[in-house]
Symmetry: C3
Subunit: 150 residues, 3 copies
């Protein structure tokens, strides 16, 4: 939906429509990276602005030597079937999906506060990361869009 | 709030109002199903459009032979008191609340990608499920509403 | 952004802008309280309305004898480094950030249903809590704002 179309729909219905999704990527378990990839890729493919703000333990998956995220203990028994099913269905990995989203314009911001806490600088992050920003900058960017706290 | 009322408020204040909530039900631990039921039921009772998109490990609670979700390890010790308190307060189970929401118009969509990964087809799901859709369809539906990623 | 500015931007672009964030604080693990404090404090400092709805196991951190939240098992090994990094960077504790947000107008509501289930009344909560409300009241308040389910 273009901005003009959004304006037309909003005017006709009074129900606002938006063309942005913002994702706070906080949880660092392996399962949560799948919806990050899927939502970012689907949103970007639909022409939406996609803004990702990475913070918390999820930061560790965006460094040059990323930590392999672990599945939560409650679902560890189901993880092998999930991973096999994803391979059998040719589902791309979360970082491949996020790279596709970025080629379509998605932006990945990393939390400045949490970077400081973890002793990480912009040069410590891999090519998925666009910049290091504060929470206020992210909230300003996210105004009016759908938000997903993952 | 009707669409006309929403339009009036939006016009008067410049602050958009919406009449839709969309819930991505991803986490599969037992505690997270309670806010799914509560938000869906409350939203539907208020006359809001309620759109639920079930994915991840949460899918397994919507099959014809559903898996009983487990409480997270961190809160396992508190789970019995919680369950007793819910019974003592006559709080409906999450699926009863979701059924009430559906009687008021809520829709429950299941993620096509994750269904494929888990080897599940529409006929494998129980009567809580309306259809199997992709993430893009869900994002299109969710535009302009409040979103909750549970 | 003032309401007038929001109206101007909305009119010019058709993309709604909002001046409210609402946070459902459900998860009760220690890590999740950090984004509660950060988002509430940043939003309030930006002049946004900040509405927090506390429910689930997170309730136990808002009582007069609050339970110390635990880190999730998957990240327990990283917790000491996180806590040391927060001290070294002079990052305020989550409740200090939430108090700063409240001084700027943020409101903290506690879920009436979950309070009943846990046998808690308004007088059992500490000074962080403004009132005890139902989910419908919260959804009504949250209309049109960005929502974060933590």
């Amino acid at each position: 939906m273009t901005m003009v179309e959004a304006a037309t729909v909003a005017e006709a219905t009074g129900i606002p429509t938006t063309n942005m999704i913002s994702i706070v990527m906080f949880s660092g378990t392996a399962d949560k990276f799948i919806p990050l990839g899927v939502l970012a890729q689907a949103g970007a493919a639909m022409g939406m602005d996609v803004e990702v703000f990475v913070t918390g333990f999820a930061l560790m998956a965006f460094t040059k030597q990323p930590k392999e995220p672990q599945f939560p203990a409650e679902f560890a028994a189901m993880a092998p079937a999930l991973m096999q099913g994803m391979q059998a269905n040719n589902v791309a990995s979360w970082d491949t999906m996020l790279r596709q989203a970025k080629e379509l314009g998605a932006k990945v911001h990393v939390c400045s506060m949490m970077s400081g806490v973890m002793g990480l600088k912009l040069e410590d992050y891999n090519d998925l990361v666009d910049d290091v920003v504060g929470a206020a900058t992210f909230l300003e960017t996210a105004r009016g869009g759908e938000t997903f706290f993952i």
